[in-house]
Symmetry: C2
Subunit: 318 residues, 2 copies
């Protein structure tokens, strides 16, 4: 049972209440929907920043520096590390979190690592729900930082107001990097570790690609900021670019548009989740399981089985 008191404590940024709310969300406890409904009226003030890019680009360092920068401005920062934890390599994450400990004890900061458990990538609704908790608790900025690779790299653009793609000189080097969806989702790019050889060439290559994108005077042309996050070089320029993008979105009414579009995706996912729960109940899953040998033997096709499950679902749902 969530008391009004509990919700009130979240609104007051009582860290234990905030933490507990996120844990309730993570475990998928049935109370989580109630909490989120109660919190929703205070949501929408936090600015959401996504930081993504290939492994090793320096996303964690950049998150750290940006956090310190905002702290100095008396802002409150929530950090959600989106983490495709695997049972096999899960331990390797320690490195990042150790770096994080430098800033982790400040009162204006809340850090949470959220696993995209089992789903092999994909920024789960739970991650967004956690951000909503932080939003309701009054954090000014919420930073989503992707850890590792996979779908979450790209999904971040669906939940962030400003998406920053961090690259290193080596990334721009290769025609392959340009193929990645990463080039499309960046509201701006940070060329990190730009003290390394090849930075200037990478800059030129990046600019060329970005200029290929259609744009007019009302559209946003992504900038490229050079940085050396490990030495705190470029942090202010990055923060300035975030504000410039925020202002641009505001002035053109795009922020509202973008958030509504994000809600749309999210509501669809929630509906589809509810339906899947109804669809894949024990008996139907068992029937599916029992049909697999026949499919593998060529006796029937996946399409025929799928159709019969669909008909069964339609006839039994009420």
């Amino acid at each position: 049972m969530q008391s009004e008191n509990f919700i009130q404590r979240i609104f007051e940024n009582d860290k234990r209440a905030v933490s507990r709310a996120i844990t309730i969300i993570e475990t998928g406890n049935s109370n989580s929907t109630c909490i989120l409904k109660d919190l929703h009226k205070k949501i929408g003030r936090a600015y959401r920043i996504g930081i993504t890019g290939p492994p090793g680009a320096g996303k964690s360092s950049l998150t750290n520096q940006l956090t310190k920068y905002y702290l100095a401005l008396n802002k409150k920062i929530g950090i959600i590390a989106v983490d495709p934890t695997s049972p096999f390599t899960g331990g390797a994450l320690l490195g990042d979190r150790v770096r994080m400990s430098e800033i982790g004890c400040n009162d204006g900061i809340f850090i949470r690592s959220m696993a995209t458990r089992g789903s092999l990538g994909g920024l789960s609704n739970k991650t967004i729900d956690a951000a909503d908790v932080l939003d309701a608790a009054g954090y000014d900025y919420i930073i989503f930082e992707t850890v590792g690779v996979g779908q979450s790299e790209l999904d971040i653009a669906k939940v962030a107001d400003t998406t920053i793609v961090v690259l290193v000189p080596e990334s721009g080097d290769s025609i392959q990097a340009m193929k990645a969806g990463l080039m499309e989702i960046g509201d701006f790019f940070v060329l990190n570790k730009c003290d390394r050889p090849g930075a200037d060439n990478a800059m030129v290559a990046l600019k060329t690609i970005l200029l290929m994108k259609d744009h007019n005077e009302n559209s946003w042309l992504p900038n490229i900021i050079m940085s050396v996050a490990s030495e705190n070089k470029g942090t202010k320029s990055i923060a300035d670019e975030i504000e410039r993008h925020r202002l641009f979105l505001d002035q053109h009414g795009f922020l509202k548009e973008k958030r509504e579009a994000n809600y749309k995706i999210r509501i669809k996912e929630i509906v589809e989740h509810l339906i899947k729960n109804e669809l894949w109940k024990e008996e139907r899953t068992k029937n599916l399981q029992d049909s697999l040998a026949k499919v593998a033997d060529g006796e029937t096709s996946p399409y025929e089985i799928a159709e019969s499950i669909f008909l069964d679902f339609k006839s039994t749902i009420k």
Copy 2:
């Protein structure tokens, strides 16, 4: 209308018929389900190989070399390049296909590039359907090659009998690379470009990670093969390792198990696709759209809207 004659021509590997069948599948034409039902009885003989890894690792070169190797053994090879084409950077793909042209004109080869259009990664059912067409047409090996990054890198393990993860010495260098789901899906690893500095260290690092994985005498311990695909070094070892893995799967009954598991995922996806078509009909999508402003204003929460859509769906489906 698909005549029996058309299906027969696919069984006989008439390339025009095969190509047309895949195009019908790609366009999502309603005939595609009929074709796949008709083809299904001849499916299951092709061995499916997935080649994945980070951008620039040399997946295309390795696919080329492996293809030439199999051709010399009089095998027929179907190649499906899974391609997260984007309107923005789509042109960059040319490089790969140019390299492919070296082997593309042989009678025993069928190459098809399939876009995972719009879905931002994710190996679509259409890709698997295309592989089924090639399987029915009598190709001995079907190679799925991922191009670019995203979810498709990991999804490949769901459709391949043997998944090969291609890495370069630089990949093993970083603790970040180990976090990737890539380490879990490889049935074996190819350390390509192993003439580069750091190859030995990368080998040791990779071995250490792989040994961390639980295994017993009945389980498969992924090997690491060194190669220089651009010089055709290591190709035979890779082909041998594929056969060794195939034999292992066969002897333990795992191949049947794996394919059944893959069919299960696929059938689920087809059912869910059918349901989504029913769910997101014009009127319901419009209602969702109309509710977004209220959600963004904090008047109602995504969860409340989702529940009302769910209830509406249940009450109207028949």
